[in-house]
């Protein structure tokens, strides 16, 4: 590629600013802002994780040992809000920030100042949200879905609503930036259907974000006016309808679920071909599958509401639409397996996490299919079966993909190789304990344990104890991750090559490791056989 020639001329007078405040708080550089997003997500992952540890500690055995039920409800609510809006989503935005310009040959994001703003809103949003835990009335305790009338009983509603507004503004600006970058800043020759699948997945995800974040903002604003300004959107006593909120919320909420998994699909579609040394199978089908999942995500929202008493026709429609999602999702899984078939694989840590993702996310998909069947959902709904399902798709799905991406691109970011031994320790401990943590929860749900309860009958004691042990060890395992990251960034003596991985293809591997502060000041020349998916038109 032509990068090397341009590199020498341009990187000397565009280095990173020297002062800490100048560099990090005033940054308009996509790499630095990407790093900020990723560090923020990591901090939030540990805060949300500590809530989960407290939850599993209280559920370790029957009886209340540690906390009052109301505090338990605050923990479950905050765990979800912090993990969804603070850890998973910012981590994907951080990966997008870092990698999308590098993957499409752009010098930076299209709107660098807005990029700075969209990150720096987040610490304020989460300070606002987390501060409620230290207030007299406590934090939000009505669940992350904030269903009225229960959520209207909370003293901290206004704080949560404004925090959600801020997160929404941040997400929308991030999404606009990503769309503008992908549509306007691609290097000549990087046609849409030559883009890496990760870039495609983010382009589609960004449209989902722009479509649904305003819907969430509207729903929570209606909560706010119901509580403080005397409106009756959701108050039956004033002619309102509590179920209306659920329709609006899940019209946001289901696309939101895919916002948290589509970029993960993109990541896995980058990693598997690299370590299989074979182009991704069915590139166009992969892109089309992501697009159809995104479309379907808008017409399945009421499958979260099968037990609210929908009319029969609606239950049937939403059941069929939900089942349909299994088809494009299945295509993606089959294509990953087909990419592996006839390949030449090695199993460095990113590949291990990717393989873990494919198997465990698929298990989450299976329970998702079971949940789609309305009569069965009448039993599963709001039990630990659902808890197991969405943790399989979010922890072993979204989170495993984020970890895989971190190991995959870490040498490019830092210029150093991480410790493969400790990274593998991190993988094997994660994959074992996460299953000890979440698999028994299927059984608890099937046996009849409702979710969001702080205490339970002794019949549920065995599996809860196993699940808690798995939870503590999974939590402890993530400390290894911190160790590997710090070692790689600051102490590793092993320098990364530019290509890093033998089978790596794509523009991001043509720049030096670590990636210089400014890249692609002059657009690179695109050669089709240098792209991860090979010749698309074969």
């Amino acid at each position: 590629m032509s990068y090397a020639a341009t590199h020498d001329q341009h990187d000397d007078h565009h280095g990173a600013p020297k002062g800490f405040f100048q560099r990090w708080c005033m940054s308009t550089n996509h790499k630095d802002i990407g790093t900020l997003y990723l560090v923020f997500a990591l901090v939030m992952f540990f805060i949300g994780g500590s809530f989960a540890m407290l939850i599993r500690a209280e559920l370790f055995k029957p009886g209340l040992q540690l906390m009052q039920p109301y505090f338990f409800n605050q923990l479950t609510t905050m765990h979800a809000l912090v993990m969804i809006f603070g850890a998973i989503m910012p981590a994907f935005v951080g990966l997008g920030n870092w990698m999308i310009p590098l993957m499409v040959g752009a010098p930076d994001m299209a709107l660098p100042r807005m990029n700075n703003l969209s990150f720096w809103i987040l610490p304020f949003a989460f300070t606002l949200l987390l501060s409620t835990l230290f207030m007299a009335g406590g934090g939000p305790a009505g669940g992350w879905t904030m269903y009225p009338p229960l959520s209207l009983q909370s003293d901290s509603l206004a704080y949560v609503v404004f925090a959600v507004h801020l997160m929404g503004i941040s997400s929308i600006m991030g999404a606009i930036n990503i769309i503008a970058t992908i549509l306007n800043m691609r290097a000549p020759g990087m046609e849409l259907l030559k883009m890496p699948v990760f870039v495609w997945s983010w382009l589609i995800t960004a449209f989902l974000l722009i479509a649904v974040m305003p819907v969430l903002a509207g729903a929570v604003t209606m909560l706010l006016t119901d509580k403080y300004f005397g409106t009756n959107f959701f108050n039956p006593g004033g002619g309102g309808d509590p179920v209306l909120y659920q329709h609006i919320f899940w019209f946001f909420g289901h696309p939101e679920v895919y916002i948290m998994i589509l970029p993960a699909f993109g990541i896995i579609s980058e990693i598997v071909p690299t370590f299989a040394r074979k182009p991704i199978f069915g590139y166009k089908a992969m892109v089309f599958a992501i697009a159809s999942i995104a479309f379907l995500s808008f017409i399945v929202w009421a499958h979260h509401m099968f037990a609210v008493g929908l009319p029969l026709g609606a239950e049937i429609f939403f059941m069929y639409a939900t089942m349909l999602i299994a088809v494009p999702t299945g295509v993606k899984v089959f294509n990953w397996v087909a990419t592996m078939w006839g390949s030449s694989m090695t199993f460095e840590t990113p590949m291990l996490f990717a393989v873990g993702f494919i198997i465990l996310f698929t298990i989450g998909g299976f329970s998702g299919l079971m949940l789609a069947l309305v009569p069965a959902d009448f039993q599963y709904h709001d039990t630990y079966f659902v808890v197991a399902h969405f943790h399989y798709v979010l922890v072993t799905g979204a989170l495993f993909a984020i970890i895989a991406a971190t190991y995959y691109w870490l040498p490019k970011w830092t210029g150093n190789m991480y410790s493969e031994f400790w990274a593998k320790m991190h993988f094997w401990n994660s994959v074992i304990w996460v299953n000890v943590l979440f698999f028994p929860q299927h059984f608890l749900g099937l046996a009849g344990m409702p979710r969001r309860i702080p205490d339970y009958n002794v019949a549920f004691a065995n599996f809860n104890m196993i699940s808690s042990i798995g939870g503590f060890l999974f939590g402890a395992t993530q400390l290894i991750f911190i160790g590997v990251l710090i070692h790689c960034a600051f102490f590793s003596k092993k320098k990364a090559t530019d290509r890093v991985w033998e089978g790596a293809k794509g523009l991001e591997w043509t720049v030096p490791s670590p990636a210089p502060h400014h890249t692609f000041d002059v657009p690179p020349v695109i050669h089709d056989d240098e792209l991860a998916h090979g010749h698309v038109n074969d």
Partner: protein
């Protein structure tokens, strides 16, 4: 719809299974329980069998897909000298693995649709019970039985005293000691259970007085949200006398985990005796009914509910 045929075969299987329990069952979760319970209503076989069928389908697909993946991971390793091939496309297999899942889904959808249709049909019920959720207890009002309205039979049902004392933070009491007979009833027992007759199609009309709750007895095979301003309806016909336990299934505040449901199913004769006793009690001046009971019996199905919301949500 196949629901009739499926239901008949389910019923036969259920009758056999329930016969092995003897005449009275105690349906509650068991330690190490791995699968969904069959339930005790004719319809409760539908989710049970759908659960088993879909689990089996998923298991087979999982074995095939993960099996192929593990074979690939074993055979196509660089360390075993595997050389990557160049292909990245095969229209034939792509069509096959798009079509086969569609066929499987159509079969599952067909079974589920039949089951759902029979669930939604509350016609021909012989009894109506109104269930109202409150923070954090349930209220049961008997509306009608065998075509005759029931006057002033209704009561609150809340967590039993022993569980309630044991569940207090640092109570020092042992949850394992909360028992009725041999059965541990910690957090699954109430002071006054709902009593219903066996072998009777009971229509439950479900609403709430404050926030959203969800009325769930796994033995019925369903749960249904109790929503203020809305009346939902579903039915169950318990096939065997016994005690059936459940819990609130929608987060409803601090004591969401502490508002269980107990349904005691009696023979029709025993139920008639029980009902007569209740009616006699409520008629006696000493035991004046609570105000809520009076209002709900005055307008059995629509009290506390805005008529517009009632019309919008048919049962």
């Amino acid at each position: 719809m196949t629901s009739g045929g499926i239901r008949r075969s389910f019923t036969a299987a259920a009758t056999l299974a329930l016969a092995s329990f003897g005449s009275v069952v105690h349906a509650a979760p068991g330690p190490w329980q791995l699968n969904m319970e069959r339930g005790a209503s004719t319809w409760s076989q539908v989710p049970y069998h759908l659960n088993n069928i879909s689990l089996a389908v998923c298991t087979v697909i999982g074995i095939l897909v993960f099996g192929a993946m593990f074979i690939a991971m074993f055979r196509f390793r660089k360390s075993r000298g595997a050389v990557a091939e160049k292909w990245s496309h095969n229209t034939m297999v792509e069509v096959i693995w798009t079509t086969i899942p569609v066929i499987i889904l159509v079969v599952l959808a067909y079974l589920a649709t039949g089951g759902l249709t029979s669930w939604a049909d509350t016609t021909g019920s012989q009894m109506t019970v109104k269930v109202t959720g409150y923070q954090w207890k349930w209220r049961y009002d008997y509306v009608e039985y065998q075509g005759k309205p029931i006057d002033k039979v209704g009561f609150m049902s809340k967590l039993d005293t022993q569980s309630d004392q044991t569940r207090q933070l640092a109570s020092g009491m042992d949850p394992y000691a909360v028992k009725v007979g041999d059965e541990n009833t910690y957090l699954l027992n109430v002071d006054k259970p709902l009593v219903v007759p066996v072998d009777t199609k009971i229509r439950f009309v479900i609403t709430s007085g404050d926030v959203i709750h969800s009325w769930w007895v796994p033995a019925t095979g369903w749960k249904l949200d109790a929503i203020p301003g809305i009346i939902n309806a579903a039915w169950a016909n318990f096939q065997t006398p016994g005690t059936y336990r459940g819990q609130c299934a929608e987060l409803c505040g601090q004591d969401h985990g502490f508002m269980p449901i107990v349904v005691v199913v009696k023979s029709k004769a025993d139920f008639a005796t029980w009902l007569a006793e209740q009616q006699a009690q409520s008629a006696a001046p000493a035991a004046a009914p609570a105000p809520a009971a009076a209002s709900s019996t005055a307008a059995p199905q629509t009290s506390q509910v805005a008529p517009a919301a009632d019309a919008a949500k048919q049962g």
